[in-house]
Symmetry: C2
Subunit: 151 residues, 2 copies
DNA sequence: TATTGTTATACTCTATAACTATA
DNA sequence: TATAGTTATAGAGTATAACAATA
């Protein structure tokens, strides 16, 4: 069978340097997914529950948590419900606006959060095994990159 | 209230260079989640459906797809069902082992996959706005990092 | 009127366990 | 017996729309 029109289009233009760097970063990150999930399971936390915990080093209103989790406001209700049932967070009414509810970590919540944070922070082999020089250069470049982020 | 035992532990040891680089990378990647989801929604694809499509530049058996998606084998059945209903993939029996089913992209599947790939490949501002020199250094370091990955 | 958070709904993804058809 | 894929089930996350309380 001759090359189809679809296959001909397949030959894409070469990646820019930035695009290649981005895709490599994406690949390294994706490879860590099983580890992330395993960490959550150790604490019997679903992925978004773990992420919510991570976001709560300071008390936050539901809406802010929704933005952090990149999901709809209505989903946060259930996620916080489950964390609350396990005694990891509390809903606390805000003084300035009685519509707002602040989500606050309990002591147990703080404990679990710190442990998760410690585990996730461990760099993957891909990065840990880079030369010291590469690690420093990588860190500095990424610091500059993050300064470019909208916020 | 005096500093609780829990709060005292909060003061964590400083991050290693590798750990800081990893966390910065994690943060840049996480910031792209809304964009990833928006791309999926444009094509009316749930996240894992999009990821499955991306993995199928070559035909793969169900089990291999499960590994790539970092989920149980049984989930892939439903994901492939939905892609098949939309005419994006086909199940094809493997010749060498009649238990195995190869998942193959249709022409439409190839078309959608290429478009998604193109969109995801676009680097985020954080990286695109780095100096050319930083971009090159970042790419080279990440290439070396990926060579450290198990596979 | 607008906003914060909740509820109801329907769909997707998830792991586990039991099943089938092959090997 | 072991493996590839499916089905059944129950729980979690998802967006949408309608709602209550408050601003």
């Amino acid at each position: 069978m001759a090359t189809s029109p679809v296959e001909r289009v397949e030959k894409r233009t070469r990646l820019s340097t930035a695009a290649e760097a981005w895709i490599l970063m994406h690949r390294i990150h994706w490879a860590e997914k099983p580890r992330f999930m395993a960490i959550g399971q150790e604490f019997d936390l679903a992925p978004q529950q773990g992420m919510a915990l991570r976001a709560l080093h300071e008390p936050r209103p539901m809406g802010e948590l929704a933005k952090f989790l990149a999901c709809d406001n209505s989903n946060v209700t259930g996620i916080v419900d489950r964390l609350e049932e396990r005694g990891l967070v509390e809903r606390r009414p805000a003084e300035h606006d009685r519509r707002v509810k602040l989500i606050v970590l309990t002591e147990e919540g703080h404990r679990v959060r710190r442990e998760i944070e410690r585990r996730i922070t461990e760099p993957p082999r891909a990065i840990a095994e880079l030369s010291k020089q590469d690690q420093l250069a990588l860190r500095d470049i990424l610091r500059r990159a993050l300064a470019n982020e909208p916020r």
